[in-house]
Each structure stands twice: as structure tokens, then as C-alpha cells.
């Protein structure tokens, strides 16, 4: 089942095209790794998928509710001194369920607790975001995304800023969410070891072209070019 069809998509800012004529599909259960150098268009693609910027050409067809996309930004994009409790942050993930209701109910609170429990950080619930380590913050932001959806997660460089062991742990969690919970995952990384272990598909932003395909094919291509 296709969740998202991207057809001949061109994205950019004002008159500068960052991504040209990109097509791919996101199927249910996919784990798609997106790699490429800084400025190659990875984050632009994410903004496009989230609807934060409009396509210049082509289109994106969603076969899921666009509110059912759980986005996890780079941890460094969030102000580390922001006064917020973990509970407040994770609950804010359920905002898409409220509609015109102003307040969270029991269901939303339960969902937030479940999301924390899924990542084994229920004990952080009453802590302040500002007092957490980088790895804990990542997990809180992932919990928030899980509160928003159990369908599709888009992760923007989750390994950034983490030490080796936190990074390994984080990847394990994401793989578990993909395999055991059946959550479709799109993950940006510039961690190049990653594509050796991650996912079934890859979108690689290279100098002249964008490679889209199975991860084995990409590995074979890299091998041949050596």
C-alpha cells in the first residue's frame, strides 16, 4: 500500500531550485534512508513532505491524513533553555487529535504515556526538557512524534550531536519501531555508516543526480564506482 506518491517534484526557495524532478513512493512498512551532503536538499525534501513549503512543479499525493505524519526535527533546532516539561512536549504531539476541543483529555494523556513507555522514558515525564542530556532530548522529541502518529515518522538527522552509544541505541529503537510496530520511517542522516545497516530503500542526493531505489542496489552501485 502506498502512503505517499511523489511525482516529478521540484522544490526550492524563490527562484532557486534545490530539488529537481524527483519521483518516489513511500509504501507502508518502508524504512527509507535519505543521505546527501549539507545543502544537497535533504531538509528541503522534508519541508516539502510536511507541507511547510509548496512544490514548484510536480506534486505529492498523500494516501494518509497529512496530520498523521510524525515529524522529529534536529534536536539542535530546539532551544535547549526552553522552559517545558517532558509531559508538556509529548502531549503537544497529540494536538492533531483535538480538532476544535481546547483541552487534552484522558485519551491524549494515555497516548502520551504510551509513547513515553514505548521508548522507556516514562520516568522522565515530570522532568524539564532543559535538564536532559542530548540523547534524552532526542527520545522526548521522538515520543512527541509517536504521540502524533503510529503511521509514518520523518526523522531529521536524529544521530546529530549524539555520542556513539546513544546513537547506536537510538538506531536500535528506530529499527524496533519499524519492525515491531510497523511504523513507516523516513530518516535523514549524514551518518554514512548508517546506510550499511538501515532500511530497505534509499534516496541519495549526489552531485549531479538523485539516486532513488533499494538499498542493495545503491550499495552495488557504490561498490562498482570504487
Amino acid at each position: 500500500m502506498n502512503l505517499i506518491n511523489v511525482n516529478h517534484l521540484t522544490l526550492g526557495y524563490e527562484h532557486q531550485k534545490v530539488i529537481k524532478d524527483l519521483s518516489f513512493t513511500v509504501e507502508k512498512g518502508d524504512f527509507i534512508t535519505i543521505i546527501g551532503a549539507n545543502g544537497s536538499g535533504k531538509s528541503t525534501l522534508v519541508k516539502g513532505l510536511l507541507g511547510l513549503i509548496k512544490p514548484m512543479q510536480g506534486d505529492i499525493q498523500y494516501h494518509i491524513d497529512t496530520k498523521q505524519i510524525g515529524y522529529m526535527p534536529q534536536e539542535t533546532k530546539i532551544d535547549a533553555t526552553f522552559p517545558a516539561s517532558v509531559e508538556e512536549i509529548v502531549l503537544s504531539g497529540t494536538l492533531n487529535r483535538l480538532g476544535h476541543r481546547p483541552f487534552y483529555g484522558k485519551k491524549e494523556r494515555k497516548l502520551a504515556d504510551d509513547s513515553l513507555a514505548l521508548l522507556d522514558i516514562l520516568d522522565l515525564k515530570k522532568k524539564s526538557f532543559a535538564d536532559l542530556s542530548g540523547g534524552q532530548r532526542q527520545k522526548v522529541l521522538l515520543s512527541r512524534a509517536l504521540s502524533a502518529t503510529r503511521e509514518l515518522l520523518i526523522l531529521d538527522e536524529p544521530s546529530n550531536n549524539l555520542d556513539f552509544s546513544s546513537r547506536e541505541e537510538f538506531y536500535k529503537i528506530i529499527h524496533r519501531l519499524n519492525k515491531e510496530e510497523g511504523i513507516t520511517i523516513l530518516m535523514i542522516t549524514h551518518d554514512l555508516d548508517m546506510h550499511a545497516i538501515a532500511g530497505n530503500k534509499i534516496i541519495a542526493f549526489e552531485d549531479q543526480e538523485i539516486f532513488v531505489g533499494k538499498i542493495e542496489d545503491y550499495r552495488r552501485k557504490m561498490h562498482e564506482s570504487l
Binding site: 511547510l52 496530520k67 526535527p73 494536538l95 481546547p102 524539564s128
Partner: protein, 272 residues
């Protein structure tokens, strides 16, 4: 002369009510501004409002009715400038605000000369408030309060992480504009009491003060409005008892509160 005698004077009672309500609105709106690192916006708006007041005074139009629409337009413009990083948002805001201030001063000095009016607009005076101001302040503070109660969760989400809020379907642009409009009305109303040079302190201080000690959004929102209002009451009382300028007195009390909260935070840290 004692503190309670100040309520015998209608103008002081008016100043007290208007000030308290404006402080409440400013403290609440300030939380979202400061935490999004947009504190510059209120500073810019106050200078634009001064320019508008000056022009209105010279042209003999009702100052508030003229300044509010001007400030609203400016707030939306500043919001757009701030979103667009390519234009050096903060530089553009500084440019706009100092130009507005300069135009205001120029217009007045050429036509009427620098007089008490200008001083009042720059440094604030509690004598300038009318019954009309009381009504507008009541309405404004009610709107802000209701917005914060009923859109509290959305305001948290978009203050904490605008992209995420947007991607989960919150109408971020709508709320940004509503917040900017309410902010500009607050600044215009508060400016005559606090002065154009000091009004932004009402929006900025309470949040920065309380976030030294409180670490959740809800605590900061509630504590900011309480601390802001307490500082206002103390500041206005000092101004009345010692005949000091109202705006400056209130800002200095806010500064003392900030230092106090900072010390509490440092003391806690030292204790581990």
C-alpha cells in the same frame, strides 16, 4: 500621604486598573515572544507607535484610533521581516523602529517643539489615561486571557516548535497574526503610561524573570502574569509615594525581581 490615599484620585484609580490589565496582557503575550526569541518585535512596535502618536498629535487626530491600526500593520510587517532570514530580520526591525522614532521626534519638534507631550510619550505618564482607555484595556485583557486559556495548547506547541505545530495541522500563521495584533494593541495602550522607551520591558521582563526558576511552560505562563502584576503594583506605588516617573519605577522593580529570581536560581544550583 499614604498608599491608600492614591485611590481617591480618579486618574490614579484609572491608571491602576489600566496598568494592571495591560501588564497581564503584556506578560502573557511576552511568554510567546521571548521564548521564540522575538522580543525585538515589541521593542520595534513601541517605537512605531511613538511615531504614529506624534503624527496623530500634530495632525489633530485621535491618537489611539490612529496608532492602533498603524501598529497592527507594522506588527504584521515585522512578523514577515522576521520570518524571512534573507533580509536580516533583526536588522530590518531595528531599521524600522529607529526610523519611526526619528520621524516622530522630527514631526513634533518641527511643528510643536519638544514639549511635555513628547516627554510623556517617550517616558510615560499616568495622567494621560481616559475612561475610554479603561474600556479598551478591559476588552483587550479579556481577549488575551481567553485566547491563552482556550488556545493554550496550541500556543505552547507553536512557541516550542513552529514546524512541528504546522506539520500536525495547527494554523500557525493565523495564531502568529492574532498574537502580533494583540501585542500591538497592548503596546499602544501601555505606551502612554510606560513610555515608548520602556513599554517593551512589560512584555520581556516577566518571562525572563520567571524562567530562571520555573522550568515548565505552564509554570512560566502563570508565574509571569503574577510576577508582572506584582511588579506593576509595587512600581506604581513607589511612583505615587516618591513622585518618581511611573514607567521607570515599574521597570526598575522588574529589574529587581529579575535579579532576585536569578539569585534564587544560582542558590539552588549551588545547593545542587
Amino acid at each position: 500621604m499614604n498608599l491608600f490615599s492614591m485611590f481617591q484620585y480618579t486618574f490614579l484609580l484609572r491608571a491602576f486598573i489600566v496598568g494592571l490589565l495591560i501588564t497581564l496582557a503584556a506578560s502573557l503575550l511576552g511568554v510567546s515572544l521571548v521564548l521564540r526569541r522575538n522580543a525585538m518585535i515589541s521593542d520595534g512596535l513601541s517605537h512605531v507607535s511613538f511615531g504614529a502618536f506624534a503624527i496623530a498629535t500634530v495632525a489633530n487626530i485621535a491618537p489611539i484610533q490612529f496608532a492602533i491600526p498603524v501598529a497592527i500593520v507594522a506588527s504584521v510587517l515585522i512578523l514577515k521581516l522576521n520570518e524571512n532570514n534573507k533580509l536580516h530580520g533583526d536588522g530590518a526591525i531595528a531599521l524600522l523602529s529607529s526610523s519611526a522614532l526619528a520621524i516622530g521626534i522630527m514631526v513634533i519638534s518641527v511643528t510643536k517643539g519638544i514639549n511635555t507631550d513628547v516627554n510623556n510619550y517617550l517616558f510615560g505618564s499616568i495622567l494621560s489615561l481616559s475612561t475610554n482607555d479603561v474600556i479598551v484595556s478591559v476588552v483587550l485583557s479579556l481577549v488575551v486571557l481567553l485566547l491563552f486559556i482556550f488556545s493554550y495548547n496550541k500556543i505552547f506547541a507553536l512557541t516550542f516548535d513552529q514546524s512541528f505545530a504546522k506539520s500536525t495541522g495547527t494554523n500557525v500563521e493565523f495564531y502568529n497574526i492574532i498574537l502580533a495584533i494583540l501585542c500591538s494593541i497592548t503596546i499602544v495602550l501601555g505606551m502612554r503610561m510606560m513610555g515608548a522607551l520602556l513599554i517593551s520591558a512589560l512584555t520581556i521582563f516577566p518571562t525572563l524573570t520567571t524562567m530562571q526558576v520555573y522550568k515548565s511552560f505552564k509554570q512560566v505562563v502563570i508565574a509571569s502574569s503574577i510576577v508582572g502584576m506584582i511588579c506593576f503594583v509595587i512600581g506604581l506605588s513607589i511612583s505615587y509615594l516618591y513622585a518618581t516617573p511611573s514607567g521607570a519605577s515599574i521597570v526598575i522593580v522588574n529589574l529587581v525581581a529579575f535579579i532576585l529570581f536569578k539569585l534564587i536560581a544560582l542558590f539552588r544550583q549551588a545547593k545542587g
